[in-house]
């Protein structure tokens, strides 16, 4: 297996990130771009750009046919899917295999197994990884109500085909079950084409903990430690940190071991992330789901391990063995990432496309910026609003937060509104600094923020 030319089947900052990793390994790149991204940074940085379709993602970045045709047209022997779009569709991995293109990621089988959240839960249980107390089967509201008695309210109804925080309904008490069940099933059918639901006990005071794993073609699986991604807005992560500072050393070791056990049990290769929910009250952790791709927040792990995860994906794809052994990996300090979106915090975070007239990122010790933006770049209205990921490392959490505070203050962007003013209030918040947060904490901060920030 050799990887000499990679089709970058994504856009935005991750397309640039993949191109940089390829260049570090001497691999040529072709940026697959929609018509809206012809002048994107990825298009300019890649050896070649190839237009795959109109701006609408359904006809470009979500078209398996267009991507395969583009890979063939430009003589690519591999394809990197990035995150989002088709990265977790087994169909793309299968199409690549059929056309002798190396898919830089796990096997189509692993993607399908973990894409079915109920199947993933069963796999976790059979490999001895704890899952949230609940039930794998809830055929109808009556059965669900019966099962809920032993699980205990409040409970969550989850769509088997959901994931990433989508397709979840909270049931507070038995009286709500019947109505919520039928709504949840109907919504799951409409959104995912599958009405299957399962139940989990609702953990009220929770942290989102996830473990970065890497596997090769030869059965070796290692982890690169954990991340704490508890600060979320509508299930979208906003600030991520590594390591998971709130967990005891004992639990951190356990959660990482659980992750590698699960990945090993399915013969996982490439980079993947196993997500857990951590109960602040009981100190228990439970498997949530596995993401079979590179993740947005991978840089915080790279910052404290010194490992280039995207380059490793490419090296694994071309058949190399993992160049690290678990015992040799060390974590150095603490890293924090802020997602900087084109949105207007003063206007309920509505997206804010437009031309960036000034782009002056912060620089300095321990600062990294992953971005596709430049002065004059027009943020198109068709895609997500992520402009940049600002990542800082410090020798400890306090130093990292201090650096993030300064970096956010120094970041000068004009032409589009960004979430920076809100991120600054979060970074300065005493509860955040003390680490007294959970997965619902940011939503309460948002309400506070909305109440005192007046539209301009």
């Amino acid at each position: 297996m050799s990887v000499t030319r990679v089709l970058v089947a994504n856009r935005g900052e991750i397309a640039v990130r993949i191109i940089n990793a390829c260049q570090s390994l001497g691999i040529e790149t072709v940026a697959a771009v929609s018509e809206a991204d012809r002048d994107s940074m990825a298009a300019q940085k890649a050896d070649r750009a190839f237009c795959i379709g109109p701006p609408r993602s359904a006809d470009s970045y979500l078209s398996v046919d267009a991507l395969i045709a583009a890979a063939q047209a430009t003589g690519c022997d591999a394809l990197h899917p990035g995150y989002g779009f088709l990265s977790e569709r087994a169909q793309l991995a299968q199409a690549c295999a059929k056309h002798n293109i190396i898919f830089v990621g796990p096997s189509a089988e692993n993607i399908a197994q973990m894409g079915d959240k109920l199947e993933a839960r069963r796999i976790a249980q059979s490999s001895g990884v704890p899952t949230v107390p609940g039930s794998d089967h809830a055929k109808n509201a009556r059965e669900a109500a019966g099962l809920a008695k032993s699980i205990g309210y409040p409970i969550l109804l989850k769509a088997s085909a959901g994931g990433g925080g989508r397709g979840i309904k909270l049931v507070s008490n038995a009286g709500e079950m019947e109505a919520t069940f039928s709504t949840a099933a109907a919504e799951a059918l409409a959104a995912f084409g599958n009405a299957t639901l399962y139940m989990e006990r609702y953990v009220a005071d929770a942290r989102h903990i996830e473990v970065q794993v890497l596997g090769d073609h030869f059965g070796s699986v290692i982890h690169l430690g954990e991340r704490d991604c508890s600060l979320q807005r509508r299930h979208q992560k906003i600030i991520e940190e590594a390591p998971a500072y709130a967990l005891t050393e004992e639990i951190r070791i356990k959660v990482c071991e659980a992750a590698t056990t699960l990945a090993r049990s399915i013969g996982y290769r490439s980079a993947g992330t196993i997500e857990f929910i951590y109960d602040n009250d009981t100190g228990e952790f439970y498997f949530l789901e596995m993401n079979t791709r590179i993740q947005v927040e991978h840089p915080v792990t790279e910052m404290i391990t010194g490992v280039d995860i995207v380059a490793l994906q490419l090296r694994i794809a071309r058949g190399e063995t993992l160049p690290y052994q678990q015992a040799n990996l060390r974590l150095y300090g603490h890293a924090v990432e802020c997602r900087i979106n084109a949105e207007s915090p003063q206007h309920r975070f509505r997206p804010c496309p437009g031309r960036i007239t000034k782009w002056l990122p912060p620089e300095g010790q321990g600062i990294r910026l992953d971005s596709h933006c430049y002065p004059g770049y027009v943020v198109p209205p068709y895609y997500d609003s992520l402009l940049a990921k600002l990542i800082v490392r410090g020798n400890d959490r306090a130093e990292a937060i201090h650096r993030m505070r300064n970096a956010l203050a120094a970041f000068q962007i004009e032409g589009v509104d960004t979430g920076i003013p809100f991120l600054q209030t979060v970074i300065d918040d005493p509860d955040y600094r003390a680490g007294k947060v959970n997965t619902r904490w940011l939503e309460t901060k948002l309400e506070e923020y909305a109440s005192y920030s007046t539209p301009t």
Binding site: E35, C51, I52, A73, G354, V378
Partner: protein, 162 residues
């Protein structure tokens, strides 16, 4: 000026409902370029239905570049001469000038075309799609080669509109 989300959506809606395929708006520092391209339904014309019967030789001519082949430069953006219109590829795929190998091409230079005239085929994943002229006029140049893999939006023909 500040452009709100509603403004952008409104602009997109107007373009979507208009007959224009391409729209450029410049107000001071702000410049918006919007274009649309509708994929042609597979069964858009009888030609395309017939074309799915193309025998194997046509497929063998698909240039699947081996990996070590040098990476070809992307075609330079073509400047469309004043008064001309380009017929652009509605999708990524292999472009064919004729319904079958050995058959005469759909159109050649000086051919008179109507908006619904089929001017070529684009094959993607073994499905053949007819390319319509989209404009009434006279073909003045054939820009893409038979069997060439074309990008979305790549100019295939130049037409002098009538």
């Amino acid at each position: 000026m500040e452009l709100s989300e509603d403004d952008v959506l409104h602009i997109l809606k107007l373009i979507d409902e208009s007959k224009f395929d391409y729209f450029q708006l410049e107000v001071g520092e702000l410049k918006i370029t919007v274009s649309k391209g509708e994929p042609i339904p597979i069964s858009a014309s009888p030609q395309s239905a017939a074309a799915t019967q193309i025998p194997a030789p046509a497929l063998q001519s698909v240039p699947v570049a081996p990996a070590p082949a040098p990476l070809k430069e992307a075609p330079k953006p073509l400047v469309i001469p004043e008064g001309m219109v380009a017929i652009k590829a509605p999708m990524v795929g292999v472009f064919y000038v004729a319904p079958e190998p050995g058959k005469p091409p759909f159109v050649t230079v000086d051919a008179v075309v109507k908006a619904d005239t089929t001017v070529g085929l684009i094959e993607v994943m073994k499905v053949f799609n007819a390319v319509s002229a989209g404009v009434n006029g006279v073909v003045t140049a054939v820009l893409a080669q038979n069997g060439q893999l074309v990008e979305y939006g790549q100019p295939l023909f130049l037409v002098k509109p009538s």
